[in-house]
């Protein structure tokens, strides 16, 4: 029977050409949108790698204060904030804080003698206290501490993505990573750290230690503060006034990371939702088109259907044939679509994991088959009701 359907569709390829094209295009669009969604969803489900609840970001603006005095004032601010009831930990950070959208990328590479492998990654400058503020997940080695004060090399903690690229199959602890004319030494390995947000891909990154003696202010204007659970507007207000009191002409801006995260998510999810809405309308359109074509086909083929009934096809066999035909037509369209879709993982242009594409292909295929089958249900029911004697006399 299946062969018969293929023969029939093949012989009617001219008539089915538009239908096949429509299904092909619908598939490609579903595949692209599906890939985007699957990709986002997979990233969303990956742990962020830190704890952002009860962490506030404090952006400091020193105003007109002379450069030389800024670091000292900042130190005072930090001391005061630490002493406030409700504040647990405070740490200086580079501006690429979680959900900020800022990044500070550079190449992380092995020494020439070790092969010179490299990977581009985000550099996070953090203080020792960051362990308590953001609580990044440590897999191996240790977090920064006083021991590092004596170190002649810049201590660095790499994330597991960096380790996979630079140190596959070996322990990175104690290894040297050149950084310009200086050298960094790995003291620990952290788990995935996705400060770029919920929908960002896990990428290589490294934490670089800011020592307490570091008096530079320019790239450490941001403070991250872990507060007690339940701390709210009152503490925020207090912090603002304290900062103003210490730094003449200073101003600050305090945002809970949870708020920053929500704002970022909204920004990213809105176009995704728009995409899905457009896609749904498109699918409805395709479905209506399919439905119309099928309906019309049934009317054009009444004699043929009557004949099949006369030759012994049961009503159910006729229904099955109509649904089967559209599934075969879909198969032709899908085959073309899959051919196109397969180019994405094969060429690897976007650097997205193959599993994302495969899942999207599977989803799009299932959706198209379901859609066409559903569209064929009513026409197939109509076809099954065609009376042989009546239909055969109409010609």
């Amino acid at each position: 029977m299946l062969r018969h359907l293929f023969t029939l569709i093949w012989n009617r390829k001219r008539a089915n050409f538009l239908l096949i094209t429509e299904i092909f295009l619908a598939f490609v669009i579903l595949f692209v949108v599906g890939s985007t969604l699957v990709y986002s969803q997979q990233n969303y489900r990956t742990p962020l790698g830190f704890d952002y609840e009860q962490v506030w970001q404090v952006d400091l603006d020193p105003g007109m204060q002379p450069r030389a005095q800024r670091a000292a004032t900042q130190r005072q601010v930090i001391q005061r904030l630490k002493s406030l009831p409700g504040v647990r930990f405070v740490a200086r950070s580079s501006s690429n804080t979680p959900f900020s959208g800022n990044s500070n990328r550079s190449d992380l590479r092995r020494t020439k003698e070790s092969g010179g492998a490299y990977v581009n990654g985000n550099f996070y400058y953090v203080e020792d206290a960051m362990r308590d503020v953001l609580a990044p997940h440590l897999i191996e080695g240790r977090w920064f501490d006083k021991r590092d004060d004596a170190s002649t090399r810049q201590p660095v903690i790499i994330t597991q993505e960096t380790r996979e690229k630079l140190f596959p199959g070996e322990s990175p602890l104690g290894k040297i990573i050149p950084n310009g004319d200086q050298e960094m030494q790995v003291v620990g390995v952290a788990g995935t750290y996705r400060a770029s947000g919920d929908l960002s891909e896990p990428r290589a990154a490294a934490f670089l230690r800011v020592s307490p003696q570091d008096t530079s202010f320019e790239h450490l204007e941001t403070l991250l503060v872990r507060v007690q659970p339940g701390a709210g507007a009152a503490l925020e207000k207090r912090m603002t006034t304290e900062i103003l009191a210490i730094g003449k002409g200073w101003s600050s801006n305090i945002t809970p990371l949870a708020e920053q995260r929500a704002a970022q998510l909204k920004l990213i999810v809105t176009p995704l939702v728009a995409l899905v809405v457009v896609c749904v309308f498109l699918i409805i359109n395709v479905a209506l088109g399919l439905f119309g074509v099928l309906w019309q086909t049934i009317n054009q083929r009444r004699t043929e259907i009557g004949l099949r009934r006369a030759l012994g096809a049961s009503a159910r066999a006729i229904s099955a044939q109509i649904v089967g035909e559209i599934l075969v037509v879909s198969t032709f369209g899908l085959a073309l679509g899959l051919l196109v879709a397969a180019q994405f993982p094969l060429l690897g242009v976007l650097g997205v994991k193959t599993s994302v594409y495969l899942t999207a292909m599977l989803l799009a295929t299932a959706l198209i088959y379901t859609l066409t089958a559903v569209c064929a249900l009513y026409p197939s029911w109509l076809a099954a009701g065609i009376h042989p004697a009546v239909a055969l006399r109409e010609e």
């Binding site: 009934r309 012994g312 009503a315």
Partner: protein, 222 residues
């Protein structure tokens, strides 16, 4: 085999009511070769389509092998049409998008337990009988009227039915070809014991059958 008791068929249109069959009583015995004659519009095709289980009579009882056809479900009727009956339509009714061979295979497609290979073989054999083995890959639109008629006959033969209902099977054939088809039907009747009911306008052909039924205005007159 087929028993018609007081069969009536009334076509109802908006304006008029046409009585196509009026209280027809008829028995077709197993293995009989019956021809039906009558003027155009007297109800011959209607009679055949009722006997072929394609249409329901408006009144009366049709029995097949002693059982009233009314008592069969739709599925059983489909099964009977497929297994027992071979229908040759007055206007052939071939599927234009299928090759001659695929058209002839069609009834076997709806028969369980007949594989693709056997279908093919039987279709070839049937086409051979009507002298069309050289045209198997053609499409209906590439055939003459007479050739199409022969494909329609081959299709009815392919299922090796017990009953063949043929509506003017030689209507579009020249006398030589018509003669051959007639011989073919006579052969099926004689050697395979096939029951045949044939509508014809050809008096000579009708004489060759065992029984001749004449119709006039929806009623049997002889």
């Amino acid at each position: 085999m087929l028993q018609l008791t007081d069969i009536e068929k009334v076509y109802q249109t908006k304006t008029i009511e046409t009585v196509a069959l009026n209280r027809v009583n008829l028995t077709i015995n197993k293995g009989e070769f019956v021809s039906v004659m009558g003027p155009s519009g007297c109800g011959k095709s209607t009679l055949l389509s009722i006997m072929g289980l394609l249409d329901e009579p408006s009144g009366g009882i049709l029995e097949l092998d002693g059982r009233p056809v009314k008592s069969y479900s739709d599925k059983e009727l489909a099964h009977l049409r497929n297994q027992k009956i071979g229908f040759v339509f007055q206007s052939y009714h071939l599927i234009n998008d299928l090759s001659v061979l695929d058209n002839v295979e069609l009834p076997l497609l709806y028969r369980a337990g007949v594989g693709g290979k056997e279908r093919r073989q039987r279709a070839h054999a049937a086409l051979d009988k009507v002298g069309l083995s050289a045209r198997t890959t053609h499409f209906p639109s590439q055939l003459s009227g007479g050739q199409r008629q022969r494909v329609a006959i081959a299709r009815a033969l392919a299922g090796r039915p017990e009953i063949i209902l043929a509506d003017e099977p030689t209507g579009n054939l020249d006398s030589v070809m018509g003669e051959e088809i007639m011989d073919l039907l006579l052969g099926l009747h004689r050697h395979d014991g096939t029951t045949i009911v044939m509508v014809t306008h050809d008096e000579q052909q009708a004489q060759k059958t065992e029984r001749l039924i004449r119709f006039f205005d929806g009623s049997q007159v002889a």
